[in-house]
């Protein structure tokens, strides 16, 4: 167990290193320097800028310096916002993204799982049909379509919620809804099929035959076993909530990391793109690690060994 955790942590470091290297060289493969897009600069100014950001150093030295910076949690200065560091950009956007993301994650679990259970327990009856129709729509319709249609109907037409920003608590409704819509549907479908499979297992009948109450059997034997596949997808869910935030924060004009990321792409702010990507990678790896540990707690059959997997 400890050996497994250590191995996982080591692998995470290797992965992070690979991603840093990849993003660094990708961003430096972009034709033209970070200042070429600006109006023609005097050669001296260009040279001064290059010297200021150490862009006149050989590439390997820049790489080493960057690596050193990342290891000490310094993602470097932003090229487009003078005096602003990538760390500050992330710190500014993080609370917003975290709040909407966490709410979306709660919605995914708190709505998706019960919907799936209701559907499975009422198999082929109207609650099942209803849930499956909604879930099919939710899986097929892209999040930005859900977001824009919801924006039009609830914000512009009905005026129930503000069209942008999070100053009002009602402002959270639409972004969280649009962000979590796909995954609520996905989890509902997954929980349904998983629970249906579990309900057919012999140990369910055994437990009932031994005189346990229906509810006890369902919760202790049915749910616990059928939720394992749900837990395994939570890692990808977190990852997709992050990338989903690019579009959602854009549509609802939320000042989160996703919006900063998209802005830095349109501004061709290479250090910011690099830094936010690495930040995302680090956050995700930690989340996936946590989910895997959760998996271990939920399913005692799984004993991770260092050499297995």
């Amino acid at each position: 167990m400890t050996a497994y955790v250590v191995q996982r942590l080591l692998l995470m470091l290797v992965t992070l290193f690979a991603i840093i290297t990849l993003t660094f060289f990708l961003m430096h493969a972009v034709p033209g320097g970070p200042f070429t897009s600006e109006k023609m600069l005097q050669p001296e100014i260009q040279a001064a800028l290059n010297a200021k950001y150490h862009l006149d150093d050989p590439l390997w030295l820049q790489y080493l310096n960057y690596l050193k910076g990342v290891l000490s949690f310094d993602l470097g200065p932003s090229f487009k916002y003078a005096g602003m560091s990538v760390n500050e950009i992330i710190a500014e956007g993080l609370p917003v993204t975290m709040k909407t993301g966490a709410l979306a994650l709660i919605c995914v679990v708190a709505l998706g799982v019960p919907l799936g259970i209701v559907a499975a327990l009422n198999r082929n009856r109207w609650p099942d049909t209803l849930v499956m129709v909604i879930a099919t729509i939710g899986v097929a319709v892209p999040s930005y379509v859900i977001a824009t249609v919801a924006l039009y109907v609830f914000a512009l037409r009905l005026g129930w919620v503000p069209t942008f920003g999070l100053d009002d608590w009602r402002g959270y409704f639409l972004p969280v809804f649009a962000l979590s819509g796909f995954w609520i549907s996905f989890i509902a479908r997954l929980a349904r099929s998983s629970l249906l499979e579990t309900l057919q297992q012999d140990y369910m009948i055994t437990a009932r035959a031994k005189g346990l109450k229906r509810g006890t059997v369902l919760i202790k034997h049915g749910l616990r076993n059928s939720l394992i596949p749900v837990v395994t997808v939570l890692g990808p869910v977190v990852a997709n909530l992050l990338t989903g935030s690019f579009v959602i924060e854009q549509i609802f004009a939320l000042p989160g990391i996703g919006r900063h990321f998209v802005l830095s792409i349109t501004n061709r702010d290479y250090t910011a793109i690099m830094g936010i990507t690495i930040f995302y990678a680090a956050v995700l790896m930690v989340m996936i690690f946590i989910v895997d540990m959760l998996y271990l707690v939920l399913d005692p059959r799984i004993k991770y060994r260092a050499d297995a997997k």
Binding site: A29, P142, V145, V149, I265, Y280
Partner: protein, 389 residues
Amino acid sequence: MTHIAPQMWAPAVRDSAAAEVIAAPSLTFWQDVRKRLWANKPAMLGLGFIILLVLAAIFGPMVSRHTYFEQNLKLSNVPPLFQTYEVTDSAGATTRFFFNSGNLNLYEVTPSGEVAGLLRPAKKDLIKKQQQFKFGYHEVLLDTAKQQLSFADGTALAPTGWQWNMSNVLGTDQLGRDVLARQLYGARISLTVAFVATLVNFFIGVFYGGLAGYLGGKADTIMMRIVEVISTIPLTLYVILIMVVFNSGFLSVVLAIGSVYWVDMARIVRGQILTLKQQDYVAAARTMGASTPRILIRHLLPNSVGPILVTLTMLIPSAIFIESFMSFIGLGVTPPEASWGTLTSEAVETLRAYPYQLFFPAAAISLTMFAFNFLGDGLRDALDPRLRT
């Protein structure tokens, strides 16, 4: 107690020949799959929709009267359906026109329903928020604040009926380009990106996964560790990074999506090959001297075609989605080219004034996603040997 008819208790006739009769027709695996897929209504609906869509994307732009890039700023944001008004002047000539509440303009309409052009106001009174139009001796006042049309004496103008826009069947966008032509062209781009990118993914994934699964051992471990490292962060991020390097455009979208999304395919192919290569027929082929590529291509891949096919049908909608996602955040195809993503994001810009413009691209992409999802689900069920009847 259910009642059982007496003849049911009679002993069955023993006939050794009857025991050998095969009741169901003998079907090969693929015949069975086809039969079950055809019986699956949603999947068939999806397939039909996809075929129609592909035909529309190929031939639509050819037969369309408009091109996707032709602009007509005088006729911008014209709706597909409008309420017409008629005014007859002193000479007896009737002018038919409609009022576009989004940009507060009056457009003349021909009797056949084509939009003839903009009607210029004779006088604009910005303080009273009124515009005056002259039809011979008749004067029509347009109150832009209340969005009302009335004669000079104050009687309101009554609409004469609804008319479908015959010159631009789905209306025009903010630059006066024909929405239908752009939709068809967008479908062309979106589908091409999806199909080409999926094909690229297919080849890379099958090659990589097949090799890893077949070689096994150390090579497999290393190759799969690489896949694991790649898929740690969302693949969308790689697509974005690659798009930043290559700049937006049709080719780079295909390249970016094609070079990233093969990891799932590789995983599935590897899993298949790992189980299949233990089979006796592989050993038999090897004993007879078949080379590694031959075993891979002739024996292993055809047998893992089911899961590959399902993954492919699921890859196409996700490629469409990623392309539109990239276009939506401004990294996709470059204007004036259109894809469903750019069309949606253009519609969002004018959401307040012309909400209906959002309908067509949103509906197009959602229906396509439905179609591919249904087809993929149907294929998966049809190919699942456990569900075989």
